[in-house]
Subunit: 344 residues, 4 copies
């Protein structure tokens, strides 16, 4: 089976990584590449933008062309900045295309909260309701038939996968969750801002958007659903002087009187994720590192019970399990391909 | 005034940094350099070990020589690994020398806890009792007359300076303190272990000694004294792919019913540290970064009140405010020099 | 078609990279992994050595076992240190196995020169004569039927590919060649030596083995053959604070009276390499960078004619085109697979 | 003695480094800071621009104010981009101030060549003639009385200091000089361009301005003067993924029939530089590294005779010996201070 794939936003960082992955996917043909349609953007050959694609993919990248898409694409990936995807998704859906959106536009169900964090009112509330949140480990059944898939954010992927097994068994004092997350610079895409210059990042480390990051509501929405009650985490992201990878260190108190039904939290995690091809649980007392997951779709998790406190550490590649590879994993599920196709 | 200074452990990483600082100090003459006295170590010229000192300091470094020390040194810095310092300090004190110990040997007052964390029973309990903990911002009066000064650890310096103002006014739920600390690699000295190879560190990030680090008891001892009750923090150190710097992100809940007497936590911190030459408090909503403190003796602190939770972020250079420069600051106090001499 | 592959030296750095590549190769099954047979090495699970292989390859790695190899392997890769491969190759050949040796043991045809640079007399002169030098762009015909393939060194690959088109048309003053090469740290494998610590490499840059590197004779041997006369280059390698990649800046004078028969040196290079899937020639005035070739088998080349002097700049991934991926490319040729199989 | 110093261009990268140095200089008072006077630049507190100067220097930085300068400054440093300095220098000189210009505006004596490389015709030819080239090791006598000092470029400093001893004794085939130089990113200042983003630099290495860099004429001018004949070097700069430091690898052929009068080239260099406080010659067979000179004003040189070819390797900190610290060294000479004041 071959899926004909188009990418809108192919010249951005997420687009670049997505192309890299899809070039190695046995069931995908990249048929069309488009830019974001912003005025002033001309046509370009993708391998001129990214010379590393020379001799591998020399497609032209143009403004989105609906007639072409209609004819040449089964599925369209939106590798666009937040607030832009929702301009394209409705049209693509009306053409009968399946859509995987890598932006935040269809992740947050409550448009008021979306507006609060993304500073723009939602333009496509109808489809927002129908969009499926694409975290395979929690939502696989619905992903299979998704028309519009909202691919999760990088921080939320690490935080939610790290907490789900404990929340599922009501083991957590839900007022106590602290997520101290550290991300490589690629999380910011390739924004041309002074703070992302080599001379600013190299040798430095700092927190940013302390407890006000736009991924907080996405984390809270999913955790609340899992717990069956409103959760509001403390979430502090930090900027690492590396290109790729997130490590999230998660602290929580046990709920008063909570009891484990298996021997240890490590066993709990192993059981919860036992059929998952991309989740690896570390042995007791061992915690993950970023190096082991970089350039992979794996999420490595270490967890330890310290009595009153439990500490969970999660590592993912923010551009892969936290973005483009998870999008491919979702595509695999949507098309009933082996879930690991093109990803191992 | 000129202080004649000797360094034991001059060929180690802390020694190297200490030499660098003392070469620029207007009131110091480095008279003698010694290695740690381990069998097999021969005499060497310090600028052969560290070629960057060529044309600056070409002293010979030999095994400790008590007669020489007696004659040529007023003060001796011990830049030695833990468990070695306590072999040298008693002799130096008996010669009437003042001693600044950069190891952990005289920091922890309870020898049982020392033994638990450093895996050796304490060899010098007499002097342990008399040793002064050298955190100038909290202990300046005693430092002035110290004979044996225990220079604080790097993580404890950042954690304690970050928490002291809140503990001093009983604002903290003392069961809630979480310290998520991140340190550059130089914290590990220059140990020849696989995990410190460039290929292991570059592009990586990981936690280590999760909640079992040997700096925990030092942090707990000092915070407990400040709070007037037993405190046991959650402390997770991480390894950054940079050479220098610590950033500690500290989370705590307010004590029930606690009330600030000044307008904001930022004001509280500014007041608490108002005469301190090396503490800089960030404006509300701004947090420190490692770059601003690297190669300095400053401790930059940002703090914000989020209602139930307060977040404090502290940045220091682990080799300077966290080790050698703090040792020089202590020396300045001990000799009634301007506290910033050689440090600004 | 499936090739059953064994790897001897699987726990080293080259072995690790080779496994990574072969896991993604559609025509390869890794059947057996062996360590180097050094006494003291026990059996281990490869994913315990490299946790990143968990859930991907959990084979046991043991001492070389000839009966097993005879039964289970078509081809054996030797991912061993120099001087060790020549102990294993004869036995493997006698079992009728094809061998790809990634060490230097079968590259240098003159055993006297081998001994001079590798400080050991050659142990297998019989097979040395028959070994095929595996640089596909120059030697494809012979590689097809190779029994014992000597996979080229990383620096030689970049230097020879950079110079071949000019030498082939006698354009070079052969006394004038200077190769100023810069390599990432992985070129040194994962040696546990002080000079490869993060604290030594990060922020540093230096030359090493200035004009005495063991890759010089390999470069000279191949260039001399191409030119039809003895060539002795000036070769200075340097150590970059990055993990992967070589950039070689090559300077040469034109031979007196030499004339180009095509319009420009860029055209010459394009023509020379026109059917090569892994060589990319930059447009005139553009030079390659390491980023574009990292994690690929490509060799990017920029060349410019400055009148008397020609400057050529070549970039490869030292672990891929400079080692493991070139070995896979050679395997593909040996088994008449598409040359790019598993590599694009 | 206290020199009252003003800096024009204080908010740039060179300005920042200069301030850092001058704060530690025992004979300097920074009295005034100015921006480059570009329209749109408002007044600012320097420690708001560079938070690391908080509690150290809180001067306001405004547009250049001639009345203020007249009153408050003995010497003015111009830490300005090329082509801007020449707008300020004439006025400062007319006010009787001594000027140290860190830009390229007064380095190249031939205005035609200046225009060719800097794309603007020279605006101040009168003072250009009088400006003194501030390389202390070659030009100390003239520096003492300089009114307008042209501080050398970073690449030229490393290249010229590396070649001077050989050129002074006519040992060099002057047509053969190749300078393969590698610089940290700070050489580009803090330009906000895509190519200087962390994600572009980290893990990369590349050449740029291959044999067309604007420092070529500065190198050629000085070397030609030393040799007494026209020299035109091959010069290829490269960009290192580090912040600070230049390492220049220099290749040259000996002049036919040239004879050394001392035992070795190493001895020649030691003799040539024997009274220089900031030049360190490595023993035979040892070459310098960037780490040893970073954050210092030293130039470390290794040189080796390979028969027909001599290889010289020079290391400096591009921001210090290659810019701001050399400017301070020049100031020390101009004011008859110890040449190392504030620099060791």
């Amino acid at each position: 089976m071959i899926i004909n794939v188009g990418i809108i936003g192919a010249t951005g960082h997420t687009g670049e990584v997505l192309i890299e992955l899809l070039l190695g996917h046995p069931n995908v043909k990249i048929t069309r590449l488009y830019n974001s349609g912003k005025s002033g953007q001309g046509a370009c050959v993708i391998s001129d933008v990214f010379p590393k694609f020379k001799k591998r993919l020399d497609l032209v990248c143009i403004k989105p062309d609906w007639a072409q898409i209609k004819k040449d694409c089964d599925l369209v990936f939106l590798a666009l900045p937040h607030t832009i995807s929702m301009k394209f998704a409705p049209k693509l859906l009306s053409l009968g295309k399946r859509v995987v959106d890598l932006s935040a536009d269809y992740r947050i169900k409550n448009p008021t909260i979306y507006e609060e964090f993304y500073k723009i009112s939602h333009q496509d509330k109808a489809n927002l309701k129908e969009a499926i949140y694409g975290l395979p480990e929690l939502n696989r059944a619905k992903i299979k038939t998704a028309k519009l898939l909202a691919n999760p954010g990088c921080y939320p992927t690490s935080a939610i996968l790290g907490l789900a097994p404990l929340l599922a068994v009501n083991l957590v004092d839900t007022d106590s969750i602290i997520i101290d997350a550290k991300s490589g610079v690629s999380g910011a895409g390739k924004k041309l801002e002074k703070e992302y210059l080599f001379s600013e990042i190299q040798g430095d480390f700092r927190a940013y958007k302390v407890n006000v990051h736009q991924h907080s509501p996405e984390i809270n929405q999913t955790l609340s659903k899992l717990a069956g009650k409103k959760i509001s985490v403390v979430f502090v992201p930090h900027l690492l002087p590396i290109e790729r990878g997130i490590l999230a260190t998660i602290y929580l108190k046990k709920a008063p009187g909570a009891k484990l039904k298996v021997g240890s939290v490590v066993e709990l995690y192993k059981k919860f994720y036992k059929n998952e091809p991309f989740i690896r649980i570390k042995p007791d007392g061992i915690f993950p590192r970023i190096k082991d997951v970089v350039k992979t779709n794996f999420c490595d998790i270490g967890v330890k019970d310290f009595g009153k406190t439990i500490i969970v550490i999660c590592a993912i590649d923010n551009l892969l399990k936290g973005a483009s590879a998870q999008a491919v994993q979702n595509m695999n599920i949507m098309y009933k391909l082996p879930e690991t196709a093109g990803l191992l």
